[in-house]
Amino acid sequence: MAASTATATATLPATAPAGAPPSVRSRWAPYWQAAPLTAVFLVFFILPLLATFIVSFWNYTEYSIEPDFKIQNYIDVFDKCVSGLPDLCTTFKTYISTLKFCLIVWLSTLVLGFTVSYYIAFEIRRPTTRLILALVCTIPFWTSNVIRMISWIPLLGRNGLINQMLIGLGIVRDPQDWLLYSDFSVILAFVHLNTVFMIVPIVNSMSRIDRSLIEAAYDVGATGWQTLTNVVIPLCKTGIAIGSIFVITVVMGDFITIGLMGGQQIASIGKTINVEISYLQFPIAAANAIILLAVVMMIIAAMVRFVDIRKEL
């Protein structure tokens, strides 16, 4: 345990001033150094976002989009959303479906990711072992997502390995349909693809927790669980937040996983946008994108209110 104390001190956040560079140097250096980054974000992020915003007010036909200023696209998005109540309109239903997946996947990846991170960061003492286990968690990341997704099909299908096993073991008599092309398979694939996004930042946060803090908690009588809730969790809030933001944005914008694993019959806002784009309805797709952006930003803003993400850097 003395060894873990030693590594803990080694990984303490740098107390030195944040790498303050020599003070005597050209004042202009930061500007040209930051220029390429600025340029990339300007051309491929800011302007596209602006274009999306502008186009969301344009008109469109089957085969063209035309500069205009009309809010019809937004009205269309919210078609019957008020008048149709108490029945939910398509947009609300789609958001509820997307948010439902988001919540379930977020909770699952959080619990699973946190547990695995805790195991790696606190239960494993040798730094090399820790590194290896962390690598083990990230290696499947290098197989194409699409292939990893479709490889669930031979496992989960009506005649898949799992069903054969369940029937073979006499656990069920008939093949279980809910294993594939269902909410379950979508969630499974999401958890499978995204838990690593939780693990990496949380392990990172946890490895910065000074081991002596844990000992100090035990020393003054905290149980393992109390140490977890009173010390570990508060201290890796930032990692949790970063991981959560990843998972939430990925799930909110997804259409591929939901499509492939949901048999194309589950709605997601990403899929709506995607369908609209394939029918060249860029303006309404843009309007949907702007609304999605607003929703995601609200979720994240709520999250960031509790945590200072920059602290982690």
């Binding site: 980054l37 999306t52 194409s144 054969q164 990925v250 952006l293």
Partner: protein, 300 residues
Amino acid sequence: MREGRSLTFVVLTAIFALYVLFLYGPTITILILSFQGPDGGLTFPMNGVSLHWFSNLFQGIGVAYVGDAFLRSLELGLLVAFLTVVISVMAGLAFRRRFRGANILFYTAIASLILPSIIVSLGIALEFRIVDDAIKALGDNYGIEWIQDNFQTLVGVFTSGLGAHLTWTLPFGLLIMFAVFNRFNPSYEEAARDLGATPWQTFRHVVLPIIAPSLVGVALFGFTLSWDEIARTSQAIGAENTLPLQLEGMTTTVTTPVIYALGTVTTAISMAVILGAIAILILVQRHRARRGSDAGKGLV
């Protein structure tokens, strides 16, 4: 924390093992099924064992130009990795000092990371569409023949596609560089200047070699992210597909285990790239270590 192999440890080990099984289950399934016999299908049971689907794959599977897509993705990935390193390092250096707009730039990077990819992708598609239209209108209005005859679009793997990938990899690169420079001791640079190095020499001979291992990390990260990117590329790619997009197309069009063979091969290649990079790092470190080991046995 104290008595090591506690119940917690056992339970957590079990959970971890299950997680790893869950994580690798599909990968292993692919691996096994790619060795299906010639008559085997996409699902279990195995119908013999063979290399049939691999040979099938290397003969070219006809439906699509996977080989071209593969090379294209490789090129794009390497370019993205390279640009991510260069741009992130430069920006990392910039952020060590105060400059106007630093905060906006930082939050833009964060926003680029957290914005749903489909929106970024759509935005890039729209932007290029508008620019394309503008150029064509220019051609028509001024009767510029070259434009009328030849110009089609600016969209492409190495224009809009590259940009889309960079919006995804650069924020990661930047965050890693923040971490790297946070831990970078500025007295190395002062020492270099003290010893007469120009700013460029300081960077070239001191900063760069010291942060080099992290840069390998950034490059690997950039490559992997690009190699497997779909959502951001989906709307912003031109006529030619990247490998993952091609694969996505194939999932609906290929009915044979050749797709698993392809999965196995791509996994093997990405693993080779990554393990190769790690091996190089280890070798370099060994080499450095060895230089000194014979010098003096009596380490004081």
